[in-house]
C-alpha cells in the first residue's frame, strides 16, 4: 500500500464554493484525515467512495479524487447504504447539508442510524439552504428570518445530536468548520468506529446565514461557549479552563471550579463508550446561556452493524444450504416428469 497524502485526495476540479464558505475547511480536514485513516486501517485510495445528496455541501465529491456519487436531494444515505451492503469492503463517506439530511432526507438518515450501517456521515449544518439561496432549514433557529420566513419561522429546530441519539445512534460528534485539528480527530474516530458515524459540522454560510455560529467560533468567546469532550478526560472549559460540568443528582450543571464548593474533583469525566443514553442525550442537548455547547465525540459505542449482519447471514445460510445454484433451485420442491 502506497502512503497517501492529502494531495492524493484532491481532485482536479475547481472548488466552487463561495470564498469564505465554511465548507472549504471541512473539505480540507477530510483531505487531511483520510491519509491518516488509510495508514491506520491499511486502506488504498480506491476503496473510498464519497457520496452526497444535493446542496452546496453536497458538491464535495467533485473535489475528492476518489470514487464519488453526487446523487439526488436527500437520498445520499440510502445510496451509501446500498453501496456498503453491496460491497462492505468499500469505505463510504457521505457529505450532506442540514436540508439534505434532515429535511428531505430525514427518513433515510434515522433509518441508517437505527440499522447502524457502517458509513461516515458528515452533516454540514449551516442552518440554512445554501444552494437554493437562503430558505430556512430544519435546524434554523426559532424565529429565523429567511427568504421563506420574512416574518420569522414559527417552528422549533432539530438538534441533530438529539435526533441521532433518539434513533439509537452509536456515534455522534459535533464540531465547527474552523476547528481543523479537532475535525481531523473526529473524522479519524468516525473512521475507526464500526457502525454509523454522524459528524455534525457547524459551518458558516457567508452569503445567506453569516455568523450563525459566531458565539461558538469567535476566538474571543468560544472557550466560554463550548466544551470539547474527549473520552476519559474531564469536562472542563472556559478561557481560563476554570469551568466544568458536574452532575447535581438529576441533571448536568455547568459550574465554576472553586466556586460554590465545587472542586476539580467534582467535574465529570467524559465516557463516550457508556451505554447510558440519558447522559449522552443531556450532553448533546446542552446550549447557551446556561451551558456550553458540547463539541468532540459525544457518543461512540459498539454494536452489531447492519452490513456485517447481512454479510454474515448470507454466509451462514450459504454454508448450510442445500441449493447451490439456479439449476438446483428450479428443481427444488414439487416437480413432475413428462416422458
Amino acid at each position: 500500500m502506497a502512503t497517501l497524502t492529502f494531495k492524493d485526495f484532491k481532485s482536479d476540479q475547481e472548488v466552487r464554493w463561495c470564498p469564505g464558505c465554511g465548507d472549504h475547511a471541512v473539505l480540507a480536514a477530510l483531505q487531511r484525515a483520510l491519509p491518516k485513516v488509510s495508514q491506520a486501517l491499511g486502506y488504498d485510495k480506491e476503496r473510498y467512495v464519497v457520496v452526497s445528496g444535493i446542496g452546496c455541501s453536497s458538491r464535495l465529491p467533485y473535489y475528492m479524487d476518489t470514487y464519488g456519487f453526487h446523487s439526488i436531494h436527500g437520498r445520499a444515505t440510502a445510496v451509501s447504504t446500498g453501496i456498503k451492503v453491496a460491497n462492505p469492503w468499500l469505505t463510504v463517506w457521505q457529505a450532506c447539508g442540514d436540508g439534505d439530511a434532515l429535511a428531505i432526507g430525514g427518513n433515510h438518515f434515522i433509518h441508517a442510524i437505527r440499522r447502524n450501517i457502517d458509513i461516515n456521515i458528515i452533516l454540514f449544518n449551516n442552518q440554512i439552504y445554501g444552494l437554493t439561496k437562503g430558505q430556512y432549514s430544519p435546524t434554523s433557529k426559532f424565529g429565523a428570518i429567511t427568504k421563506t420566513s420574512p416574518y420569522g419561522t414559527v417552528e422549533h429546530p432539530f438538534n441533530p445530536g438529539s435526533l441521532v441519539l433518539g434513533a439509537k445512534g452509536t456515534f455522534f460528534a459535533r464540531s465547527l468548520d474552523v476547528e481543523l485539528k479537532l475535525n481531523e480527530e473526529i473524522m479519524t474516530a468516525a473512521a475507526l468506529h464500526d457502525g454509523c458515524s454522524v459528524m455534525e459540522m457547524l459551518t458558516n454560510c457567508v452569503i445567506f446565514n453569516d455568523g450563525a455560529h459566531k458565539t461558538l467560533s469567535d476566538p474571543s468567546v468560544k472557550a466560554d461557549h463550548t466544551v470539547v469532550l474527549r473520552h476519559g478526560e474531564k469536562m472542563i472549559f472556559g478561557k481560563d479552563r476554570d469551568r466544568g460540568l458536574i452532575y447535581d443528582g438529576k441533571k448536568i450543571r455547568a459550574v465554576h471550579i472553586g466556586e460554590g464548593g465545587f472542586t476539580e474533583e467534582d467535574i465529570l469525566v467524559h465516557d463516550a463508550h457508556t451505554d447510558n443514553i440519558g447522559i449522552h442525550m443531556a450532553l448533546a442537548d446542552m446550549k447557551g446561556p446556561d451551558y456550553p455547547v458540547a463539541l468532540g465525540v459525544i457518543r461512540d459505542v459498539r454494536d452489531i452493524t447492519y452490513d456485517d449482519g447481512v454479510r454474515d447471514q448470507v454466509k451462514s445460510v450459504m454454508a448450510k444450504a442445500k441449493i447451490h445454484n439456479v439449476d438446483e433451485l428450479l428443481r427444488s420442491g414439487s416437480t413432475w416428469e413428462v416422458e
Binding site: 453526487h70 453501496i83 453491496a86 439456479v326
Partner: protein, 591 residues
C-alpha cells in the same frame, strides 16, 4: 380456499393436465367472514393441452357459504355443478350475504344448475369425531372434505394429496396427517356415495409434446428466480432493495429465502430508499433490483431519473394493480404503462419490457437484467397482479441453455496520467463502460446533474442536446439485440391485426383461436424499444386493434410512434382480467 385450490391445481398438474390459476382475494387480511366483500376465491382451469387462461366461466363452483355463492354464481356455465355447504346456509349466513329470500339459487337465477347441497360441516365433524382434535381444528378440515369431493368429481386419485400432507406435517404436526387423510377420503367417498352427482369429469392428460421435468410456478416466484438466474449468469451478486407492497411483496419474500445463492435483500424504510439503495448497489457492482407496485413506482420516479442520468444498470419490477392511487390493491390492471414510459421529469428514456404469463416472468426478468447490465440502463419490467399471483405448469429449463451476461466492464489499467472518461460511449451501442469502486485508477464521479463524456459537470447547450440524444439512442439501439415480432396467430398480413402486451396473452390467444384464421395476433414483450420489425409488420394490416386492461395507453403510444396507422382500442378497467368471450366479441366487431 386458497390452499385447497392450489392443492387441486398441483395435483392436476402432476397428473398431466395443462392448467392456469387465478387467486382473487379481498384487501382485508381476514375480511369479515360470510360477507360478499369478504369472499376469497381461487380459480383453477384445467385442460388436456396447454391452458392459457384461468377461464371465464366454470364447470364446478364450490361455495362454502352463501356469500361465496352470491359473489360467484354469475360465472357458472349453463351446465355447471354448484357444490355448497348446506350447514352454512342458515339464517345468519343468508342475512350476512344479503339474500332477501329463502332460496339463494332462485334469487341468483341458478336454480337450473346441478346443485349439490351437502351438510359438509356436519359431515366433517362426524368424520373426525374420534380423531381427538379440538373442535376448531376439526372445522378447518371442511375444505379438505370438499377437496375430497372435488377429487371424486374430477376423477382424481388421492395419492398426491396424501403424500403432500405427509411431507407438510411430518415434522411439526404428525398427529394431523391421519385425520386429514381420513376426512379427504371420506369426502371422496361421500361424493361417490350420494346419487345427486350426475356426472364426473375426466380431463385426460394430453400426450405432452415436450418431454421434461415440470413444476408449477407463480409469476412472482418466476420473477425472483429469473433474477437469480441473471445473477448467476453475470457473476454479479443480486441486491434487491424494496419496500413491501401488494401484489409485489412475494418477489422480495422469495429472494429473501435464497440467501444461499448470495442474494441480499434489503427491506428499505420506503420505496425511495428501496430504489436508492439499489442504485448504490449498482454503482458498487451488484445486479441491482427494486420491486414494487403502482403507488410505489410513483415514489420511485425521481430516482429512476437518477439511474437514467448516471447510466447505471438497474431492474425495476412493477407488478401492476388496480389504480389510481391506492386503488384496488388486490386486483389486476395494466394501467401503469404510461407511468413506466413517461413518469419522470425531463427527457428520461428507460427500457420497458413486459411479462406475458406467470412462467414467462422467469425469462422476462432474466432479459430485463441482461439488458440492464449490458446496456448500462435502468430497465422496467412490467408484471401484473394476475401474473404475479397466478400460476401455470412450466417445463424447467436448464441454465446451460441461457446466455452469459457480459457487462461492459473496463479492462486493464489506465495509462499513467490518463483519466477515466465515464460517459465515453461504445460507438455501436452508445453504451458507456463500467468501472467499479475499488478498481485502482478509475476513480470517477456520477450523479444527477448533466455531465459531458469526461464526467465533468456541464450546462453547455450543445452538450446537453447531445447527451439527451445519446441517452435516447442508446435505449433505442437495444432493439438490435431483441428478437423480432412473430405472429402468435393468423396470417402474416390481412385486414385486422390484434395487438396485446403483458398478461392478456393467454386470453387474447384463446380468443383469436376461437375466431380462427380471419384474424391475426401479435403480442409485445418489448415495449421500449419496440421490436425492430414493428412498423413493417403493422404495415401489412388494414386495422390494428389493441386490447389492454387500461384506457388505451399502449394504443396511444403506438399511435404516436406510427402516425397514419389505423390503431383502435379495446379496453377494460375493472380490476379483472379479460374474459375470452368479451374479447371474441370485440374483435369480431372490428372484422
Amino acid at each position: 380456499m386458497q390452499l385447497t385450490g392450489s392443492l387441486f391445481a398441483d395435483m392436476s398438474a402432476i397428473y398431466g393436465n395443462g392448467l392456469s390459476t387465478f387467486p382473487d382475494y379481498p384487501a382485508e387480511i381476514r375480511a369479515p367472514h360470510g360477507t360478499v366483500s369478504g369472499v376469497s376465491g381461487f380459480q383453477v382451469h384445467i385442460g388436456s393441452g396447454k391452458v392459457n387462461t384461468p377461464g371465464d366461466f366454470c364447470d364446478l363452483l364450490v361455495a362454502m357459504n352463501p356469500a361465496a355463492l352470491k359473489a360467484n354464481a354469475k360465472w357458472c356455465k349453463r351446465h355447471a355443478m354448484i357444490l355448497v355447504d348446506e350447514d352454512a346456509f342458515d339464517e345468519t349466513g343468508m342475512k350476512k350475504a344479503g339474500f332477501l329470500t329463502d332460496n339463494p339459487f332462485t334469487e341468483l337465477g341458478v336454480e337450473d344448475r346441478t346443485l349439490i347441497v351437502s351438510p359438509i360441516t356436519t359431515l366433517t365433524k362426524e368424520s373426525l369425531k374420534d380423531s381427538g382434535m379440538d373442535p376448531k381444528a376439526i372445522l378447518k378440515c371442511k375444505n379438505m372434505f370438499t377437496l375430497g369431493m372435488a377429487c371424486y368429481i374430477y376423477s382424481r386419485p388421492l395419492e398426491y394429496i396424501y403424500s403432500y400432507l405427509e411431507k407438510k406435517f411430518a415434522k411439526k404436526h404428525p398427529e394431523v396427517i391421519e385425520p386429514n387423510k381420513k376426512v379427504l377420503f371420506d369426502g371422496f367417498n361421500y361424493a361417490s356415495n350420494i346419487q345427486v352427482i350426475p356426472n364426473t369429469y375426466t380431463v385426460v392428460p394430453e400426450e405432452h409434446p415436450e418431454k421434461g421435468t415440470y413444476r408449477n410456478i407463480t409469476g412472482n416466484q418466476a420473477t425472483a428466480w429469473g433474477l437469480l438466474a441473471a445473477s448467476e449468469k453475470s457473476g454479479l451478486p443480486l441486491f434487491c432493495g424494496s419496500y413491501p407492497i401488494t401484489p409485489a411483496t412475494a418477489i422480495l419474500e422469495e429472494l429473501a429465502i435464497h440467501k444461499s445463492l448470495g442474494a441480499k435483500t434489503l427491506q428499505a424504510e420506503d420505496e425511495i430508499a428501496g430504489i436508492c439503495t439499489a442504485i448504490g448497489a449498482a454503482y458498487a457492482g451488484n445486479l441491482a433490483v427494486t420491486t414494487t407496485s403502482g403507488p410505489g413506482l410513483s415514489l420511485k420516479s425521481e430516482a429512476m431519473g437518477l439511474a437514467v442520468m448516471a447510466e447505471l444498470p438497474l431492474v425495476v419490477v412493477d407488478v401492476q394493480r388496480g389504480g389510481p392511487s391506492t386503488g384496488l390493491p388486490t386486483k389486476t390492471e395494466q394501467s401503469d404503462l404510461n407511468q413506466a414510459l413517461f413518469g419522470r421529469n425531463g427527457e428520461c428514456p428507460m427500457a420497458v419490457i413486459a411479462a406475458h404469463s406467470p412462467a414467462h416472468c422467469f425469462d422476462a426478468a432474466f432479459q430485463a437484467a441482461k439488458i440492464a447490465l449490458e446496456h448500462m440502463t435502468p430497465v422496467m419490467l412490467l408484471s401484473e397482479g394476475f401474473l404475479g399471483n397466478g400460476s401455470e405448469p412450466w417445463k424447467i429449463p436448464s441454465m446451460k441453455d441461457y446466455p452469459e451476461i457480459k457487462p461492459p466492464f473496463v479492462q486493464g489499467i489506465l495509462p499513467e496520467g490518463e483519466k477515466f472518461r465515464p460517459f465515453e460511449r461504445d460507438p455501436e451501442t452508445l453504451v458507456r463502460r463500467w468501472a467499479l469502486p475499488g478498481q485502482r485508477g478509475f476513480e470517477h464521479r456520477v450523479g444527477g446533474l448533466e455531465k459531458n463524456h469526461a464526467g465533468v459537470l456541464s450546462t453547455d447547450p450543445a452538450n446537453h442536446a447531445l447527451m439527451v440524444a445519446e441517452r435516447a439512442e442508446k435505449v433505442a439501439r437495444i432493439a438490435r439485440d431483441l428478437p423480432v415480432l412473430t405472429m402468435q396467430h393468423g396470417p402474416a398480413s390481412g385486414a385486422l391485426l390484434v395487438v396485446g402486451w403483458g398478461g392478456t396473452y393467454g386470453h387474447i390467444l384463446t380468443a383469436v383461436r376461437e375466431i380462427g384464421d380471419a384474424v391475426s395476433y401479435v403480442h409485445f414483450d418489448y415495449i421500449n424499444p419496440l421490436p425492430a420489425n414493428t412498423e413493417e409488420l403493422f404495415s401489412r394490416f388494414g386495422k390494428i386493434l389493441v386490447c389492454e386492461l387500461n384506457s388505451g395507453q399502449f394504443a396511444d403510444y403506438l399511435r404516436a410512434k406510427f402516425p397514419g396507422r389505423d390503431i383502435r382500442k379495446f379496453n377494460k378497467v375493472q380490476g379483472q382480467p379479460f374474459l375470452v368471450g368479451e374479447l371474441v366479441e370485440a374483435i369480431q366487431k372490428e372484422m
